[in-house]
Structure formats: C-alpha cells, structure tokens
Symmetry: C2
Subunit: 238 residues, 2 copies
Amino acid sequence: MQLLLLSNSTLPGEAFFHWPADHVSAFLNGRKRLAFVPLAAVPGQQPDYVTKVRSVFAAMDVELVPLMGEGDMDALLAGCDAVAVGGGNTFHLLRSLYRNGLVRSIAQRVRNGIPYLGWSAGSNVACPTIMTTNDMPVVEPPSLRAMHLVPFQINPHYTEATIAGHGGESRDQRLSEFLEVNPAMPVVGLREGSLLHVVDQRTSLIGRDMKLFRHGRPPLIVENGSTFRTDLTDLKNE
Amino acid sequence: MQLLLLSNSTLPGEAFFHWPADHVSAFLNGRKRLAFVPLAAVPGQQPDYVTKVRSVFAAMDVELVPLMGEGDMDALLAGCDAVAVGGGNTFHLLRSLYRNGLVRSIAQRVRNGIPYLGWSAGSNVACPTIMTTNDMPVVEPPSLRAMHLVPFQINPHYTEATIAGHGGESRDQRLSEFLEVNPAMPVVGLREGSLLHVVDQRTSLIGRDMKLFRHGRPPLIVENGSTFRTDLTDLKNE
C-alpha cells in the first residue's frame, strides 16, 4: 500500500499546492491518470475546485479524472492509476463517499496497490474514523468510520497556537479529550507543510516535526525525516 | 419557555463563571434546586467539573443536583425547578444525553416551563442540531439532532479572529459551508461574553453584538441589547 497523506494543500502566502507539488510528483512516479475526489467541497464549490486542482496536476503532466456528480464512479476509478482526495469539509466528504460507494471501492483499490494521495480532509478519511478532524459537522454522514488505510488517526493542520484572548479549547485539549474516550488509538498531530509517506509497514515524515499523542503518555515529538513502523510501535517515549 | 443560552462560561483571565453569574442568578429568580448536566466533560473530568460548578451556584444559594453516573436521571430532574447543561465536548454531551434518555426528558420539561440554562456545548444542544459546534467529534452520537428548543443554530465562542500564519478555515468559512448545505437554517454567531435570553416568542441579546448568518444574505450584525422574535424573522438586512 502506498499513501501520501498531507496535512494541508497550501501554506499561507503561497500559491495553491505549492509546497507539496514536488513530493506529490515523485510519489505519482509517472502515473498519468489521477482520479480526483472533490467531495469535501460543498457542491457549489466543486467545479471551481476541480479547475484549480486540474491545473496543478496538468503542470505535472497528469490528467485529472474528477469523481463527482452522477455517473459510475467505480468505473471511472477503474480507469485511473492513482487516486487523490482533496480537502474541504470532512463530514461532507465522508457523507459523499458513503453515498457513492467510494469508502469501500477506494479502500479496496488502494489495498490492491494504487497510490492514494490525500490532503487535509482527504487525510482524515484515510484514518480509522474522522474523529480527529477540525471541521464543523455541517452534514451527518451515516457513520464516522472511514477508510482505515492507516492504523492511527491524523489531526491535520496541527498547531499548538491559539487565538489570543479567546476561550475556546486548544487543539491539545481537544485531542486529550479524544484520547480519554478512545484510549487505544494514537493520533498524529501533523503540522501544516508536512506529510506522511506510507509504504506498507514503513512510514516517513517529511516537512516538519510531528507530535504523537497516545493515552497515558506525554506527547512525543518525532523529528522531520524520521522513518518508523506504520503501526507506530517503534516510536517510544524516553 | 425560558432559556438562557450563553456562548461560554468564562472569559480569559477571569474567574470561572464570573461574567455570567449575575445574569444567571436573575434568570433563576429564586429557584433553589438546579439539575446540572456535566456530560459534556469526558468521564474522568466530570467530578471536578461538578465541584467547580457547585461552588458557583452555592454562592447564589442554589443547590446543584448533578445528572451523571447511573441512577434514574428523569426522577432527579423531576425534583428540580431548573436545569443547566454545561460546556465541554458537544459530541460527548449529545451521545450521553441520548444514552440517558435526557434529550427527550429535558426538552419536555423545558417546554412545560422549567428554565433551561446552557453554556457552550449546553447552548449547542438547545438548537435543532449540533451541526454548528466547534468541537471535535471524539465520539459518535446516534444522531446530530438535538433538543430543538430554539428554531435556529448557535455557533458559540463566535469570533472572526484566526491564527496568524495558519491555513485552517476561518469560522466564517465553516459557517458559510453550513449555510450552503442547510440553506433554511439561520445561525447566530454568539461571541464570548454574550448570551441569548429566550422567553417564548421573544429573545434578547445581552453582552456583545451578535452576527446572524443566513443563506443568500450578507451577515447581519445585531446590536447588544436588542430584543427580537425568537424565529428571527424581524431581523432584516437593510
């Protein structure tokens, strides 16, 4: 299984998809037909989103096959040699994936070897559940269970920063609530501008350090450039 | 129906529950037994939360009856003359309310006249759904539908502020996604340090201005101190 799971598409002040472009191009490694799922965007924004993403991949000489609207998505997917799931609202994405039978069909094809690229919401749905998304639950998916392509949760756009003078919970508080009620599930806090490259049982971190949250242990900072087991069991606190 | 729906319990730098204490005391208007729902806190934090809230209400000479653990919650509720639902994680709260039959039994008693006080997650669950919470979906409630005591959504802790240098969605972006997929439902952006006081068909805003989001219209700033119809239909853009 090959996955490239990005925290985010775009860093503030940079052009759309600038930071990950070279990593993504290397990951696709010559594949030319990329199924693209824009379903994290709300419907009115999907066409513009496809246009924007298409131009990014055209520059890599990769043809985009959007999975949206009606039509037989599994057949479209069958004609592609990689799949990408874009960001937006994770609840909207997961509901749409279920409605189109894509939770199962994407997961199956990825388990059979086609590369999976996700960013933000697209990384959330590669996890066991979407319970560590930052998004607002603007619609209700039939379940919070997702594709479970990796055995841990990702919190994309991870940051310790909070809004000055604002009393809402910090990200760390939210994740510690998650761990208390889901003590068996580790969470990777994946900072903007970083990604996980998963190749079967080995995963590499590229971009910035990450913060690993596990129940009953202090958070563990994992250095940029580290490679570790995909089940994270070799990442140990001192 | 009488509701006091607070954006938040506590302003940064102030003692717990300082800002709303006088409003809450006036709202309770001599009632002495307050059923308190601490179920937005994750289980390990509920006892401390009850202790903290109990001392706030003791200072108002109000006895707190916590609804938590096992026991017949409806019977406990029946012995109280007001109900309060505290903040924490809205998903955890709603799942716990469903598990204990409290979605229906609290709503029924409030419709029959006992005053309802909520803050943060406790304000979210007074709405038709919890789809405008800011919280992380750390557990999966059987439904996102909530008590529907008011005919609009509240976004508590509302702010236009964002984290500098961070690419995550702003609150306004999230709410505009909500409106696109739920065009019939208005959302009140309720700033920290403010509350809605609902008495049947009339609602007053106390604390700070609020921002009303409706599909297809620009957001409307409603001034602190305004009184309007609870269905919000007399709040008009120029």
